[in-house]
């Protein structure tokens, strides 16, 4: 099988804008799931509301497209009631970190055996480009017309502090690395969190000096530094660029987990 065997082709074309990074992340996730050798009837995709959360609708397995922010609570019910199922959650920065923030930290704390792939486009895409908890300071959006004044959330730090067993961050540029980390996360018993920064040319890029789709992807490429390198720079007393995007696997541990297949 390949990733395309997992696609619900009769639902195509999809709703994503031209140049959107979400398709890349769906591709990486399905490749990783396919490499796990999981059966379709044993796999469930769950999501909340937003662009990212439309993804399960394009996948042939059982899927639950829920309410805004609550995907992890629904997924918890599915996984706890039937640990035999593999449960993968697609979410976004608004869904996960704003309205769903409480469910996020508690799912990490419980260390429920879920894999969560967060497509972080740093904006509310579906509603037309409002600021989100991961919108960088100074960035323009329809609700931050003078530049965002709020510090942004670091979702990986949050997941790490709250107790997830596996935490990783990549971008839509880092396709191979992202696929590998999702694959690793799928195999980890307990809560796996993989953040994928994605370009949103329609609602983020065009307001924030990324005139072309590839401008933002290029930015991910040139500003991403491996977390190991960042640690080395810190240990050597060297500066880490303020706009650096820390990438790589941040956490891999074996805290007691819930809902693991018996």
């Amino acid at each position: 099988m390949t990733y395309s065997d997992w696609l619900r082709v009769d639902r195509l074309p999809h709703i994503y804008c031209a140049g959107c990074g979400n398709g890349t992340v769906i591709n990486c996730t399905l490749n990783a799931v396919d490499r796990m050798g999981w059966k379709k009837e044993e796999t469930v995709f769950v999501s909340g509301i937003g662009c990212s959360s439309r993804a399960p609708g394009y996948i042939v397995t059982d899927s639950l497209h829920t309410t805004h922010g609550r995907a992890l609570a629904f997924a918890t019910g599915i996984k706890m009631a039937n640990p035999e199922l593999h449960v993968v959650v697609f979410t976004g920065d608004g869904d996960l970190a704003a309205i769903g923030g409480n469910h996020f930290i508690h799912s990490c704390r419980r260390n429920i055996d879920l894999t969560v792939v967060c497509m972080n486009n740093q904006i509310y895409g579906m509603t037309g480009g409002q600021g989100s908890p991961t919108t960088p300071r100074g960035a323009l959006s329809t609700t931050t017309p003078y530049g965002s004044q709020e510090p942004a959330f670091d979702l990986c730090e949050l997941a790490s502090a709250a107790g997830a067993n596996f935490v990783s961050r990549w971008t839509s540029y880092h396709v191979k690395e992202l696929t590998r980390s999702i694959h690793q996360g799928l195999g980890v018993p307990g809560f796996s969190f993989i953040e994928a920064l994605v370009q949103c040319p329609t609602n983020y890029g065009r307001r924030n000096k990324f005139r072309q789709v590839m401008d933002q992807v290029e930015y991910f490429k040139t500003h991403g530094i491996l977390v190991q390198k960042a640690h080395r720079l810190r240990d050597e007393g060297l500066p880490i660029p303020a706009d650096a995007i820390l990438l790589g696997d941040m956490v891999r541990r074996d805290r007691p987990a819930m809902g693991v297949k018996r």
Binding site: R8, K40, L64, A73, G77, H106
Partner: protein
């Protein structure tokens, strides 16, 4: 046994194997009892981070085929409203217990009320219909909880056990049968579109993990379950069916008790006010005083009113400002007199006798 414990026992007898909830007075004993008992029967109890997550986990569990429930009271019930609408739209069987307390807001956590009767019917956004039961004894906390699971699976709709604090915390002797009736979810035949409804208007259930590959969404969807949120006719047909599948069966679902059908002055009750009316009829047996007691409040069984052809007035003692009295008014031409008593105190027999005297 306490009412809340009887509710949990009813759920266990009905085969409930998942409880997701959040502690709140005066419903917490339901959760506590489920926490103690569920692991012993291979079930799952999980205390979620809030009531929103509680009902969400219940809906998730239900899609794996489990009978699932939550229990709460006013403030938690308010938090659940959005996901109740999701359960309606996705036709997810689930049972919600509301041990009602005084509101609005934090109100009276330890005092009885029946002030969420309209909220359970209309509280989530959009047009829809649900089923709500109202127990008036500890025995009925057990029985109606069993009924709630059967109705939820049969109609694929959230079913509410709308008890009040008095019934929840009352202690009475009850009889627990060796087995209880069980109505299973209708299974979806393989190859059938998952949201195609037959004449009964209820599609078969495509349980997760069984190879259906079903997409379940809160968006307006076609019979394949695919989002199709901009078609006026599709949306209208879907919402009309979701309402009609419950409302068209309301006389089947109806469950009420009739005392003295030839009476002219008739009390209509549900929940704990029924106990005061029973006391009045016990103290002063009088065939001229009737009593209609609803065990099912929603869908509203208006034909029950016809059981009292000689009635000249309906007296409706409720622990609210007249929520169901207003519904009764819609279905009758004779006077309907709300007898509100709230703040936590139950109606006294003397008070109800006085109300009768006014209509002699």
């Amino acid at each position: 046994m306490q009412g809340n414990t009887a509710c949990a026992e009813g759920a266990l007898a009905a085969g409930c194997r998942f409880f997701g909830g959040y502690p709140i007075t005066p419903s917490t004993e339901v959760a506590e009892h489920m926490a103690a008992k569920l692991p012993r029967v291979g079930g799952v109890f999980i205390q979620m981070e809030d009531e929103i997550a509680g009902i969400a986990s219940v809906i998730g569990a239900s899609w794996t085929g489990a009978r699932a429930m939550t229990a709460t009271s006013g403030p938690g019930f308010s938090l659940m409203m959005e996901n109740i609408g999701f359960a309606v739209m996705t036709e997810t069987p689930c049972v919600l217990v509301n041990i009602q307390r005084g509101g609005p807001s934090t109100g009276q956590p330890t005092m009885s009320a029946q002030a969420d009767m309209l909220q359970c019917r209309f509280g989530s956004h959009g047009d829809y219909s649900i089923i709500a039961l109202s127990p008036a004894s500890v025995q009925e906390m057990f029985e109606l909880t069993v009924d709630a699971f059967n109705l939820a699976d049969r109609f694929r709709v959230p079913v509410f056990l709308m008890a009040d604090e008095i019934i929840g915390h009352m202690r009475e002797r009850i009889e627990i049968p060796d087995s209880v009736p069980r109505e299973e979810r209708k299974i979806l035949p393989k190859g059938t579109p998952p949201f195609r409804a037959d004449e009964g208007m209820i599609p078969g259930f495509p349980q997760f993990g069984k190879g259906y590959g079903v997409h379940v969404t809160g968006l307006t969807h076609d019979e394949r379950g695919y989002p199709c949120a901009t078609s006026p006719s599709l949306h209208e047909d879907l919402v009309k069916r979701l309402v009609a599948k419950v409302e068209s069966a309301r006389h089947e679902i109806a469950d009420y008790r009739v005392t003295n059908p030839e009476a002219e002055v008739v009390f209509i009750t549900y929940g704990s006010p029924a106990r005061t009316v029973e006391q009045v009829l016990h103290d002063h047996p009088d065939e001229r005083i009737g009593h209609l007691r609803f065990r099912v409040v929603w869908p509203f069984p208006e034909k029950a009113l016809d059981k009292f052809p000689d009635a000249k007035v309906f007296l409706v003692p409720e622990q609210n400002l007249g929520q169901i009295a207003r519904e009764i008014e819609r279905h009758t031409c004779i006077p309907v007199v709300p007898l509100p008593r709230f703040g936590g105190a139950l109606h006294t027999p003397a008070e109800l006798e006085k109300a009768v005297e006014a209509w002699r």
